[in-house]
């Protein structure tokens, strides 16, 4: 099944998956796997761990399909579970902060029209943030979610989310300037 057609049929996919249609559930995974895997990757900094996490999230989804009310709810549910599971794994020290990437398992830099070295450095610096702050930044800048939704997903007050964003941006920018990857003038 092509992804575009799957996306168009997704209301039916959800209903069919609820009724036990495995092909429909596989199509739902394909629709959301990139988002869930990317949250895991940015949070845990390891591709194998990110895949484990994403698999865990979809297995949980399979058991909770009856609780999913709509496609919007499905997206929110997946982001919420993925981010919180990653925070939990990080806090249990299963995947320590700043853990080195496995050999040959580097996070691929997205294809952008800007300096890939800078992208890689930004991603690396993001991995140095505390788990909750990292989750906030991933949901804000990778998933493009608004502050209210991030607060709901992470069970945080809105002001805490805003504070995480402000402090993390200041820290990241400071480190980028410190590493001479950008200049203060460049950003002004």
């Amino acid at each position: 099944m092509k992804l575009d057609s799957a996306q168009a049929e997704s209301p039916q996919l959800l209903e069919r998956a609820r009724r036990g249609d495995q092909a429909a559930f596989a199509a739902l995974i394909r629709l959301h796997q990139s988002s869930v895997f990317s949250i895991g990757l940015r949070m845990l900094n390891r591709r194998d761990a990110a895949e484990d996490l994403a698999q865990d999230v979809f297995l949980q989804l399979y058991r909770k399909l009856d609780d999913i009310e709509s496609l919007e709810h499905l997206g929110f549910w997946l982001r919420r579970v993925a981010a919180n599971l990653a925070i939990d794994w990080l806090r249990r020290a299963a995947y320590t902060r700043g853990a080195p990437l496995e050999e040959g398992a580097e996070i691929p830099a997205p294809q952008t029209d800007q300096d890939p070295l800078m992208d890689r450095e930004l991603v690396r610096l993001l991995g140095e943030l505390a788990p909750a702050a990292r989750a906030v930044m991933v949901l804000r800048y990778q998933e493009d979610r608004d502050v209210a939704e991030i607060a709901a997903a992470l069970d945080m007050p809105v002001n805490t989310v805003k504070s995480h964003i402000k402090r993390s941006l200041t820290a990241l920018r400071g480190k980028m300037i410190g590493a001479e990857l950008i200049t203060a003038e460049e950003l002004s």
């Binding site: 495995q22 990139s34 940015r42 698999q55 952008t112 800007q114």
Partner: protein, 130 residues
């Protein structure tokens, strides 16, 4: 300044593709999940025991109810016996009192009669002696 940096961050954090075959691997993991969820709890599989007969089912409550009834009736009977005994004792005391009053009354009547009776005339011997 912030906006430019935020856009840079957004570009750096664009979602990446999941590894090839990811969805298939998740689907492969599902049967184990399903198998686990299909395991019928032992309590349901276990052969149900024969239904209890009405007598067995109600014997304990019936015994309790019977004991309670016996206790109540025994209590009432003992209370009734005690009341009857007290009543008998009361009647006996009353009878004795009536008897005593009757005797007292008779004695008083005799005394009254004796007092009211005129004294007999002295006999000759008595006169001579005096």
């Amino acid at each position: 300044m912030n906006e430019e940096f935020e856009n840079r961050l957004r570009r750096a954090l664009r979602p990446v593709d999941a590894p090839a075959g990811f969805a298939e691997r998740v689907m492969h993991a599902l049967p184990a999940q399903q198998a686990a969820s299909n395991v019928v709890p032992l309590a349901i599989v276990r052969k149900p025991s024969a239904p209890m007969s009405a007598w067995r089912r109600f014997s304990t409550p019936a015994a309790l109810a019977a004991s309670l009834l016996v206790a109540v009736f025994t209590g009432q009977h003992v209370a009734a016996l005690k009341a009857e005994r007290e009543q008998q004792a009361g009647l006996a005391a009353s009878r004795e009192l009536m008897q005593a009053l009757r005797l007292t009354s008779q004695k008083l009547d005799l005394a009254y009669e004796a007092v009211q009776r005129p004294a007999p005339a002295p006999t000759v011997d008595e006169e001579n002696r005096s």
